[in-house]
Every structure is written in structure tokens, then in C-alpha cells.
Point group: C2
Chain length 851, copies 2
């Protein structure tokens, strides 16, 4: 809690020069002072500091005469909360404080007895429930209106409180202030605001303002007005106005409000009070210009006279926000940097994908993990083959699997969305789904998938058959029955403008993880600075290639393996040539073959039989061989560079393909300098051996073609040991890319595929602050990254360093990487815009910090 | 290469004061100097330094007249290698250098023409093959003996060399020196000695000695003599003597030698030359006393006169060595510390287990990894159940499995040895085998095991059936057909004496990993300082308990789980009570339940059917549930503390059992302070939550019994992240035990169960210096241990720290742990003696270094 300064006046009149800051009096008080400075017609207002309110909560009520003396002649008052950040919430405003029998008489003269009674009655009710904390039911049951209602309310109060309704404005105000101060200190209020990021000792200020009544014989009323459409961000006067009403609350209560501008559909404020309307527009434009933001103004009209009660930043959609900040820049109101800082990077995701219309009816049949954002509607299919068949017929389909494996990737390509029963944020389905920009819900444990019966049993027992239409909402993790209304993705000109500004600021390159030509094209579309991670294994799952792979796996002699791989060589050359072409000379980092070989072998009986037939071997032999290759912990098994060393023919074929493709693509256009990355290194010697072999292949290819080319060799640092050995590894390579997925798995001893079963329990109990596969674990994994980075940099000042993996595109990771000095981060294509903006923000933040 | 000092005389006469050191002239030269100092009858000897020999190899032959002038009147010479360490080898000795036509005439007068011709012929042949490098076949084919043989040899020389046999002793000597110097520099010699630990620049000295002929008319001959039995280490004059022979080589050539001492079985040296025999005994005793080691002396007798040509340390078995060094201490010749330093800790393993008699015929049917030392013979069984049945019948059996799992542990207990087709040094079979002291060969990939047909197909195609007798030799990784002769384990009094001395020196405690009362009893027998790791999971595999576990796993509500576990509580109380009783108040560190629950579920159809029946559920439900619990990487899955947090009832039951057992055992004897260890921690909060729950159980038990007890809580640090977070973890616990098995797996990203498939290729190619599951990886894992240790110590100076895991008993690990300041290491019971000795050596080494 900010210390209360005894010399500070406990109440500050809001004048242009009063010492009011968000950090002492809260955001609302500060905003009101700004409006006063703009000479807007703001009713007389005083502000109570955090310290004062804290004292009030602890029973030290200041001398209220000092406060009330600011409002002479005596007037009705309203009290509003003013926390440092408006998002942190606070107790509701209380209007008409000071209302009593005497002011009732006075007001009756001005407004008529019924209207005055209505004001008094509402105040009594509010006071009873929120200040005196009497039984709400008693007061909400009062049906009568006007004078009868007032009389009922006063009587109820006296019965419940066992004393008459207080008549002293000072007593009323004291109780109102105390109740609001105490509400702020309550446990649930504290937990709620802490969940929104408020510090433990966040303070509450209060604002006491003279009421502008909004009731009377001339045109009176209250409303809100803003100059933009909240959804699109385009200029449009929007808001609501209700004659004979008080405050924002009256509008929110569902009362039928008027249009603001003239409208054919009904009466408008412009019709009723054209001059007040013009004044409000001018006030709003002035506020936009001088407060440098699109503001919603809260106003009251009293006999045609405009009062500005408050101003808040316009509520807006992600798309609206982008348009708003770009327009503010175009109008010369804010700088590009300010605009960039006003967009939350993660909010861009909403723009990049179709969404279920927020107004659509949602028939939720399952909940799971929102693994890849966006929404899509299609027919249920249960196998990759069916997905491909469906895509061939032009029917959008949704692939539904217990979990996906590399064999499903082609089926995922053919689907519009993916739903799995198992897996977490970094399961195969989730990773590939994000990579493809495919809406995905994974780990939907509440449903049962019966592939054999071609059925999904929803959590409520409903059965969905193959071919039924469902909608996967990967933004919030829900699966819906049928086809609700959708909103299309919106990559408009203001998005492109913002991204261009971001690139001008960002000081760390953003590359994309892209395995296929389609991925690469998306990455280009999002202006990625190259491909940071091209995983090559999926290239071997093509039906034509898979059989050759299996032949290779079953070969006993290196020559036989080589013969099998020779069949794949032209295909791999074509793969890489196409990637190089699409990327037009931008860097492409190709990771050599990584997964365990048994991923390419069947595990069910039918598959084993087929394989035995294809290889002309007894089923028992094939089964035995397949079983002997099974691993207890494939993640920690014979894969990556271990395979590269023990079955060297695969890497030899791959690097030959890369070099041949390099020559072909370089002949056609920009010279290509491929980057070759060795996965799963744990000892420097692994790199030395592979480097020697790659150099030999390069020499052979140069020799055969009589042409020269360059290439860069690097290591994927993804074991803790590789981080510790980074100095020794870095001295013999051109680049290191830290694979944070596997590094997180090994640092925690936690398989991402298996973590889903308890991760949410862990995060809910705060065992882990966050899912470390989602938000980079700065304490543990981050320390290993830091050690690896610093050792490598010291040993080889020229080594290029980066992060690839699921964390790459996260703002937190980018700040971390930028802080250390990484050269680039690489992320899923659809995360590239998020990463570009985050990188820009991080650069701006650092500029501000050091300027 | 040691720099050659030009001021240094290139040849040094071996006198008591000559400047001769092993580091300049080699071990043999130094030993000969020592013999000279003892005034033993050593023929005149000169030594050539490393520098001189290096120069000779490079073509710079010194002035040999200076050398030859030392042997006036001219004599025959022998040249022997003298490397720094005798184990590093060197070129063979060359005798009778200087033999030519003139000395042949001279010798003929002395010995007769045939004997002289024989000497000359052998020299020509040796010179031709080893010095002139002529075709060996030509010279080995010469059948004739005596003068004819000599004539053939000289003619063959002249034909092959195209010049007559050199007659100048100076030329002969120069060529002999050059050929020996060059042989040392050859690639294969260098590789061989480097494999034995020689540095790259290891030097060779040469020793030139006047020949004592061993031929003549009186009693002449040569031999070796020592005062102990090499195998037992007990006093016994052993050796060989051959009349009319020259040098050790003659003895080694399979010639029939005489006994030394009088013997009923035949003539002896004592008979032939009683005085020479007595002299030799005295010389040997003097050497033992003054050179402070059991020495074998090489001698020649020339007409009854004894010459001592050389002395080397007696070759010995591991058992013999222990006895020898203990006797040297008892005789006041060396100190206890010296004795301890002279025993290689790993060699003790040979003493602790039965071994196949080295002289037995070995019919090897399979090779695998020598996973647990010792040998055992028994009948083949293919299942744990059959093993138990066999044990019940009193028939020793050998459990043969593709690989073992926790369900096999009881079968392993019932077997005398284990053989598996899969797995590496740290596979389940290997770890449990070592823990039980059970001879084990794992990863015998050359055989095929057909459990269904109850057959093993050996690598040569032979088929062995269930019930056939085989022998598993876990010391060298071989499986033998039948029952070869065995040598029993030999834990004699000298072993105990040595161990007692070790304990007096060791400055780090040695505890044992012991899961069962049997393990604990062995640990006590080896004087372990407590149990460092009691794994509790095996306790749940008892048939009676397994069903209850499965019931618990299938229960949906905590109450149901608790009800199931309540059935196990009394059994767990009995388990722990017995352990505490056996350990008599010594510390017992119990690791809470660690493995994933699916290990307790069946995976085959029959098992699933049985389980469905037992639980009264449809098979499809049970199958589905079992499948849903399968994990991709169980090592990195839902186990350890993760299970402790998500299924808290298991830990609650276990700690209750520990506390109840503590009260029971404390009532009976020494007060017990159990140590409770939480496995697989990756975040400090995991410890906080478990600690709170354990405290609550402790409070409840204290309350129920109205009695107090203490306990200590600790964490098994086995994830890289726990090492990094060790400060935060240490501040709230009493001890940390670093589990190097899992830590190695996670640091390398390498599953110990799967590493076997490529580890030997990796070590052979020096990708890894050593198998990191066998020898602690000081660079990578060691750095994490260091970080963890230092952070924990800084945060909590009182925290007790240790290492448990397979590395615990290794001398390298002990040196590492002692260096950092760990409080104890814990290892398999049968490794305890090794560890105790290693700890003593490390302490002595440090004392020497700092004194």
C-alpha cells in the first residue's frame, strides 16, 4: 500500500493543476483532470487518494465537512471508484448521495414529486443493499413506483436497519465511502484483480462528483458516445442516449435508448437536441486529439446543457483496435511506436483465423484444449485416408482421432480442423495443427471416439456419426454441433500497415517453421525472414516413399540401405528445390532426419501383414523385427544424430539432395546457401563425425557437377548437455538453434505427449506457474538457454543463434531472446505476425528504457 | 617426449648413485639400480635414457665405443626395454649381442662347440627376424641344430640380406638399439600402450647388460622365483628353473622346467644347487623387505654362481593381491595406507562372487553385456512363475527373458542368474541383477529367445530347451553350455582386514541401495552405513497386493482409492518394520512410490481378461482404461511426485506405514528416524505440497498413538531442473539425494533402456568417452550436480547431500562426490566394498596431496 502522507490533503479538488496521478488517485481521477484541463463541462469533482481510502477502510474517517465544503451550495453527489488500472475493477458507483427528505422537497419543486420520489427511492434501495448491507430481497421486492415506492422503501429500511434512513448528507457520504473502501479490501475483490495482474497492494481512489441530474422539464437524459465502430474501428458515431435517465447504469439496464445521429429507424439525440449533439461530437473529437485515444464519453444533458461525467477508452475488437491505432497515427495524433505498443500481440491471432460469430448460438458437445486457434465446420472423418477422399470430393472434413501420429499428417492437410481425445498443447496434433494454421481441439477427454464404429459419443451422451457436421473452435477449445455463423479472418490494409511498422522497429529476425511448400508460402505471405526449421521426416510418409523407407529399415547391409535410399533421392531433391524456389534466396534451415525409425513401421496386424507381403518376408520375421525396434521412451531413444551416426546412409542421401537442389535452385535464381541442422546432439564429437561426412558429400557433389556452392552447418541444441557443451559445439559450426520443446521436456523430465494428463491440475494448483510447453520456463530452461548462449558466443563470436520450437513466437520468449542477443526466433507460420509485433514492442521497450 | 639434455651422458652405468629415474630411464633401469643398491649380484648394466633412445629412433646413433668401453673385457650383452610403466610393454629383449665367429670359437672352448653353436644360431635367427627384419619363415624353417644349424642360419642370412652376418659387436649393438627404438615408435605399439593409459609422448629407455650365460659344464641355467602363491597370496616358494638355458624366454617357451624347492614329484633346484637355492631365497626376502613388494626375481646360475638379472612385481589374482598387501603390512614393510592404495577397488568384485574357473573348458553359446558380475549354473526357465516353482523344488534356475519388467522381480529373487536378449548396463534386468548380486548377462542380441516354444536358439544355431543346464558368466558377459568348474567367492580374513582399514580412512559414508530385507541384510554384512535408497514399488507386485493395486488404479473416487490402499497398509507397515529391525537404528532412506501406474496393469489379452474378471467389469472397459493410461515416454510421464500430487492417497498410505513402523521398531530397539524421499521433483512447489500432507499424516499418527517420533524429509534430485532449483528446494528439506541414473538420462536425452542399441557403437567411435550410465559424465551431468550441490549448500548449510544410483559405487563418482563435499554415496549392496575402498583411496590421495 502506498504510504499515506499526513501532510497531503485528504481530498483534492480536480483542477487543471491539482497533484493527481494514476498512481496516487487512480485512472478515473486522472482522466477527469485531463477533461478539466480541456475545459470540458465537467461537474465539480474531488478525488480521494489511495491512502485516504485505505485509512477509511481501516476506520479512520476524515473530516467530511472539508469535503462537503467543496460543494456549496449543497448538491447531490455521486461516488465512483478510481483504481490505478480501470481493468482491475472496483465497487459500483453510487449516485445521488445527499438525497433526503429536505432535498426531496426541493427536487419536487424542480422536477415534480414523482420524478423526485423515483430518485430518492432508488438511492434508498442502493444505499440499503450496498452501503447498509441489508437483505437485498426485501428491497428488490418493492413493486410500487413514485411516492408510494419511496414510502415503502423508507419503511423497509427502518424495519431492516432498526433505525430511520439517515438524513445527514455527511453521514450518508461517510457510509458510502466506508462501504466502497471496504469492498475493495474484500478477499474476492482482491483475488479478482490479482488475476488481472494487479499487485497485492493495489490501491483504490474514489471520485466524488456533483450530480448532473439528467431529469427535468426540458431535454434531460444521459448517455455514452464514441466516434468509432468498436468492431471495425472505422469512423462512426455510436453510443446510446436515454431521456430522463441518470448515469451509465440506466443505459445498461436494458432500457430502450435512442439513436444518437439522425436515423430513419427512430428518434435520435440529434433530433431532440441538435446543439447538444454537435457539442458532444466536438468534445469527443477534442478528447481523441488531446487524450490521444478513441474515447467513449459519458454525458448528461440537463435542460439541453451538456455535462461530461467521464471518459474511458473505447471498448474494441482486436480488428477494431488495429484500425483505431493506425488511424490515430495517420491523423498525426500518436506515433507509430505508440500504435505498436497499443496492440497485444496475441490478439492478432484473432485476426488471422475465421471465428465463430460471437452472436451465434453455440451447441457445445465437447471441451478440450484450444490447441490451434480459429474455427472451421466440416463433416466428421475418422482416418487420414477418409480425410483425403473427402478433400478430393471437395467436402470440408474434420479429422477426428484418439491422437494423431506422423502417418496422419497428410490427412490433416486434407482437413479443415482436427479433434483428438488425447494429448496436450504440444502433442503431435497440436503442433502440426498450429503449423498448418488448422483449428485444433486436442485432449477432449470428455468425449469417446470409436473409430471402428465411426462414432463420437459426446459428453452428454449424444452420438455423432461419420459424415455428421460439427464445428471445431480452436480459439476457445470447444466443439460445436452443426455449422454456426462464422466471421471471416480479416487481414485488411491496417493490419499490413501495422506489420510494416513492426518490421521497421524489430531488432530480432522472425523466421517460420515450415515443412512443406504450403507452409513456406504462408511464411512468405507473412513476411517471415526465412525458414528457421524445416522438419524433413514428414517427407517420408508419402505412400510411395513409405514403402521404400520400410525397405531401407529392413535392409541389413549399408549397400542395401543405400540402394533403397537412392530411390528417394530424386524426390528429396524435388522437395528441397521447391522450398528454395518459394523462399527466393531467403535462408532455409533444414533439420536432418530426426524421428526413430519405428515410427515408419506398422504396429497393427494388418499393417504387419501388408509389410511382410511387400518385403516378401514371413510375417513372423517382420513382426519380430518390428518388435525388436520398439522403444520404451522413443523421445530419448535412437533418433536424431544417433540415427545419423548409426545409419549414416540417411543423412548422406539427405545432404546430397540438399546440395543438388541448391545447385538447381541457384541456377534459376538467387544463389541459395542452405543451412543444415543436426538434431539431438549431446556430445561435440557427434557433430565432428557428421560434419566430416557432410563435407565429403559436398566435395563429391561439387566434383560431379563441376560447380561450387556454399552451405552452413548447425546444431539443434535440445538436450541439457548440449547447452552445457555449447562452447565446444559452437566452435565448429555456423549456427546453433535451441529447440525449446525437447529442451523443456528434458529439463523437467516431462514428455509433452504425456503431460496433458496432469498439466492442468499442476497449473491450477500453481505447482508450475504456467504450462512450460506453452510459456517458456525462464527459471529452469531459460538458465540452460542462457548458459548455452553465453558459452557459444564466447567460443565463437560469429555463430548465429536462434530459438525454434513452440515457444519461438511467444512475446515472453522474444523478450528473453532479444535480451540475450539471439539472432532470430522461428515459429509456426501463423505465429509470425504475433512474433513480429512482439519483437517490435520489445525493441521499443528497450529504446524507452535506455533513452 | 622428454627433452633430451645434450649435457646428459647418453649412457649411464647402473651404480647405487647414478642419476636414474623411472621418468628418464624407465622402470626396469630403476629397479636394477635398486637391486644394485642392495648389493645383489647383478651383472654389469648400463641404461640408455628416453632421450637417447628417441634420438636413436630418429637416426642419431651415439658413439657406441663409449658404451662398449663399459664392458671390458668384451662380453656378450643383452638389451632389454625399460619403459616408465612396465604395463606399457615394449620390444622383446635381445640376448647374446656381440656373438660372432670369434666369440663362437672362444665359447666353444668354454662350453663345447654344440652349445656355442646353439647360442650363435639363436642369435642369428633373432637378429635376422627382429633386427634386420628379414622374412621370418626362412629362419623358422631351419630344422638343423648345433653346428649344422648355425651354418644354415648364417647362409640364410647372407642370402636374404645380401650381405654376410655382421661380425662387429658395435654394428650389431647399433642395429639392435635402432630396431628396438624404432619398434617403440611404431603405430601399433603406440596405440597398444595408449590403450593402457600411456601418454602420447611416453618414452622408452633401454638397458644393456652383460650376459650371464646359463650354459656351461657345472650347474648352469636360468629361472624365476617368488615367495608367494600368485593365486592365494599365501607364502609359498614358486617359480621355474631350467638347466642349461638362457633368460626368461627359455622358460616361457614351454620347455620342461624343474621345481625350485625339493619336491617328491621330481628333481628340483634345491637338489641340484642347494646353496644357490638358499642364496636366491635370501635375495628374494631382501628384495621383498627393501623394495617393499612381493617380487619375482629373474636369475641365472653359472656354475653354481647366482646372477640376478631383473626383478618384477609378482603377477597376482585379485584375491592374492589382497592377501599380499595385508601380509606386507603385518610384516611391518608397508603402511596400511599403502596397502589400501595397492588394491584396485573394482578388482574386489572378483572376490565377492563365484567365478568360472579360469582353467575350465568354456563352451560359449552367447555373448552379451556383462551386467552383474559372478557366475552361476542352473536350469533354463522362461517365466518368473517357473523360476519360483523351480526355487521351491530346490533346483537352481536361470531366468531367461527377452527383457525383464518389475513383474519379474520375484522371479529374479528365485533365480541364480539372469539372461536377457535386450537392454543395456542400466536396463531393468541389469539394475536389479546388480542389486541382488545376481550374475546377469543382458542384451545378448546374438541369441533368439522363444518363450512360447520354451527355447533359446544360440548364435551357432544350437537349440536349448527349458530345463537345460547353462551357466551365466556375468563377469565377462558370456553364457556357457553346461556346468563348468567354479571358484567360490573368497571373503577371507585379509579381505575383512583391508575393509576395516578402509573404513578408518574413508571420509565419505557409503550406504547401500536396498529394497528388500534380503538386500538390507547383505548391506549390513558389508558394513554399509545405512540404506541410501529403498525403492518401494516392488512391494506392490506381490500377487496378493497387485490385485489391490489394480483395484486402486481403477477406482474413480479418492474414498475408493483409499479403501483399496487401506488393505495394503498393514503389509507396508510390516515391510518397513522389518527393514528398520535389520538396520538396527542405522538410517533408512525410503523413496516414495515412483513408477507410472500402468506398470501394474496387464498388457496382454489374457491379463486383461483376468483383470476384468477380478474387477467385475466388461473386458472392453478394462482394455480401454488400460490403453488410456499408456504413455509415449513413461520415463517422462505421470510418475514420481506427479503421481504423489495427482493420486495423493498412495503417498498418504506409504508415509502412514512408515510412521507406524517407526513407532513399532523404536519400541523394540534403537529409536528410528526414517528418511522419506520424494522422487522426480522438478519444481519447489511440488515439495511444499507433499511436505504439508506428510506433516498432516505425522500429526495424525502422533495423535492416534499418543507418542512422538522424528522423521527427515528429502528430495531425489534427478531432473536437470531440480538441480537448477536446488537452492529453493533445499531450503525446506533435510536432505537431497541426487539420482544420477535419471539425471543422466535427461541430461543426455537418452533412455537407459533404449541406449543399449547403439551405446557400444558410440563408445567404440569415441562419440562418448564412456557409457555415461556406467561412468559418471563429469563434464555434463557433473556440472549439473555441482550446480545443484553448491546452490543447495549455500541456501541450507545443514542439508545432507548424497548420490544414489548406479554411479554411486564407482571410484570416479566417489572422487567426484568427495571433492564436492557430499555426505554419502549409496550403491548396490555388492558394490559397497568397492565403494568403501575407493573412498579410502580418495581420502588418502587428498592427504598426500595436501601434506
Amino acid at each position: 500500500m502506498q504510504k499515506f502522507n499526513p501532510d497531503e490533503p485528504f481530498v483534492t479538488l480536480v483542477t487543471p493543476t491539482a497533484p493527481i496521478q494514476p498512481s496516487t488517485h487512480g485512472g478515473r481521477a486522472k482522466c477527469l483532470q485531463r477533461l478539466v484541463r480541456l475545459d470540458l463541462p465537467v461537474p465539480r469533482t474531488v478525488a480521494l487518494s489511495f491512502g485516504t481510502v485505505h485509512d477509511i477502510a481501516n476506520g479512520e474517517m476524515p473530516d467530511l465537512d472539508q469535503l462537503l465544503s467543496q460543494f456549496q451550495p449543497v448538491a447531490l453527489l455521486c461516488v465512483r471508484p478510481s483504481s490505478q488500472d480501470p481493468d482491475w475493477g472496483g465497487p459500483g458507483a453510487i449516485l445521488n448521495v445527499g438525497m433526503n427528505d429536505a432535498s426531496f422537497v426541493e427536487l419536487s419543486d424542480k422536477l415534480g414529486a414523482e420524478a423526485a420520489a423515483s430518485i430518492y427511492q432508488r438511492f434508498v434501495q442502493t444505499y440499503a443493499i450496498h452501503v447498509a448491507r441489508l437483505d437485498p430481497d426485501v428491497f428488490e421486492e418493492i413493486d410500487a413506483q413514485g411516492q408510494q415506492g419511496l414510502s415503502d422503501a423508507l419503511m423497509a429500511y427502518e424495519e431492516e436497519a432498526e433505525e430511520p434512513f439517515p438524513q445527514s448528507p455527511a453521514v450518508q457520504l461517510a457510509e458510502v465511502l466506508r462501504s466502497m473502501a471496504r469492498a475493495w479490501e474484500g478477499t474476492s475483490a482482491r483475488l479478482l484483480r490479482q488475476a488481472k495482474g494487479a499487485p497485492v497492494d493495489a490501491g483504490l481512489g474514489l471520485v466524488v462528483q456533483e450530480m448532473a441530474l439528467g431529469l427535468g422539464h426540458g431535454e434531460c437524459g444521459s448517455g455514452v458516445l464514441q466516434l468509432v465502430n468498436s468492431d471495425t474501428g472505422l469512423p462512426q458515431i455510436t453510443g446510446r442516449y436515454l431521456s430522463q435517465s441518470q448515469g451509465r447504469e440506466a443505459l445498461a439496464a436494458g432500457a430502450k435508448s435512442l439513436f444518437l445521429e439522425q436515423d430513419d429507424r427512430g428518434p435520435s439525440l440529434q433530433d431532440l437536441a441538435p446543439q447538444a449533439f454537435e457539442e458532444l461530437k466536438e468534445h469527443a473529437a477534442l478528447m481523441r486529439r488531446r487524450l490521444r485515444a478513441e474515447m467513449q464519453i459519458e454525458f448528461t444533458i440537463e435542460n439541453g446543457r451538456v455535462h461530461i461525467l467521464d471518459g474511458v477508452r473505447v471498448d474494441r475488437s482486436a480488428r477494431g483496435n488495429v484500425r483505431i491505432v493506425v488511424r490515430l497515427v495517420e491523423d498525426g495524433i500518436i506515433t507509430r511506436q505508440e500504435a505498436l505498443m497499443r496492440v497485444e500481440p496475441r490478439a492478432l491471432v484473432e485476426l488471422l483465423h475465421r471465428q465463430v460469430d460471437p452472436d451465434a448460438v453455440r451447441d457445445v458437445i465437447a471441451n478440450g484444449i484450444a490447441a490451434s486457434p480459429g474455427a472451421a465446420t466440416g463433416r466428421i472423418v475418422f482416418s487420414a485416408a477418409d480425410a483425403q477422399a473427402s478433400a478430393a470430393r471437395g467436402e470440408p472434413c474434420i479429422l477426428v482421432r484418439r491422437e494423431t501420429s506422423p502417418e496422419d499428417v497428410r490427412g490433416m492437410h486434407a482437413s479443415v480442423a482436427v479433434l483428438t481425445e488425447r494429448g496436450g498443447m504440444t502433442s503431435h496434433a497440436a503442433v502440426i495443427g498450429r503449423g498448418l494454421g488448422l483449428p485444433s481441439v486436442v485432449g477432449a477427454a470428455c468425449i469417446r471416439i470409436h473409430p471402428k464404429r465411426a462414432q463420437i459419443i459426446a459428453r452428454d451422451g449424444r452420438v455423432f456419426q461419420e459424415g455428421d457436421i460439427i464445428t471445431v473452435d480452436g480459439t476457445n477449445g470447444e466443439v460445436l454441433s452443426g455449422a454456426p455463423e462464422m466471421l471471416e479472418a480479416r487481414l485488411d490494409d491496417s493490419f499490413q500497415t501495422l506489420m510494416d511498422w513492426a518490421d521497421a522497429e524489430g531488432e530480432i529476425d522472425i523466421r517460420a517453421n515450415a515443412d512443406t511448400p504450403a507452409d513456406a508460402a504462408i511464411a512468405r505471405g507473412f513476411n517471415a525472414h526465412g525458414i528457421g526449421l524445416c522438419r524433413t521426416e514428414h517427407m517420408f510418409f508419402d505412400p510411395g516413399r513409405l514403402t521404400v523407407m520400410q525397405e531401407m529399415i529392413f535392409a541389413d547391409a549399408p549397400e542395401d540401405r543405400r540402394a533403397a535410399l537412392d530411390q528417394l533421392l530424386p524426390m528429396q531433391i524435388a522437395d528441397f528445390t521447391e522450398l528454395f524456389r518459394i523462399m527466393h534466396g531467403q535462408p532455409v534451415c533444414i533439420r536432418l532426419f530426426d524421428p526413430p525409425l519405428h515410427e515408419f513401421l506398422p504396429s497393427d496386424r494388418a499393417g504387419l501383414r501388408d509389410l511382410a507381403e511387400a518385403l516378401d518376408l514371413p510375417v513372423s520375421d517382420v513382426t519380430r523385427r518390428v518388435q525388436s525396434m520398439e522403444e520404451h521412451n522413443p523421445m530419448l531413444g535412437l533418433r536424431g544424430v544417433r540415427l545419423g551416426l548409426t545409419v549414416p546412409e540417411i543423412y548422406e542421401m539427405q545432404v546430397r539432395a540438399i546440395f543438388e537442389a541448391t545447385l538447381t535452385a541457384s541456377k534459376e535464381g538467387d544463389p541459395v546457401v542452405p543451412e543444415i541442422m543436426i538434431p539431438l546432439v549431446s556430445a561435440p564429437r557427434e557433430v565432428e563425425i557428421v560434419r566430416t561426412r557432410i563435407d565429403a558429400v559436398a566435395a563429391a557433389v561439387r566434383n560431379e557437377h563441376g560447380r561450387d556452392f556454399d552451405y552452413r552447418l548447425g546444431v539443434m541444441v535440445e538436450t541439457p548437455r548440449a547447452c552445457l557443451m555449447a562452447d565446444k559445439i559452437a566452435s565448429s559450426v555456423d549456427f546453433l538453434s535451441f529447440g525449446t520443446n525437447d529442451l523443456t521436456q528434458m529439463t523437467y523430465g516431462l514428455s509433452r505427449d504425456d503431460a496433458g494428463r496432469f498439466m492442468s491440475a499442476y497449473v491450477n494448483q500453481s505447482v508450475y506457474k504456467e504450462d512450460p510447453f506453452h510459456i517458456l520456463d525462464v527459471d529452469g530452461v531459460g538458465e540452460l538457454l542462457t548458459v548455452g548462449f553465453e558459452r557459444a558466443r564466447a567460443a565463437n563470436p560469429d555463430v548465429v543463434m536462434s530459438i525454434c520450437g513452440e515457444h519461438g513466437g511467444n512475446p515472453e520468449s522474444i523478450a528473453f531472446c532479444r535480451g540475450l542477443g539471439f539472432n532470430y526466433v522461428s515459429c509456426s507460420p501463423f505465429r509470425v505476425p504475433v512474433a513480429r509485433l512482439a519483437a517490435a514492442q520489445e525493441a521499443i521497450r528497450l529504446k524507452i528504457a535506455t533513452s
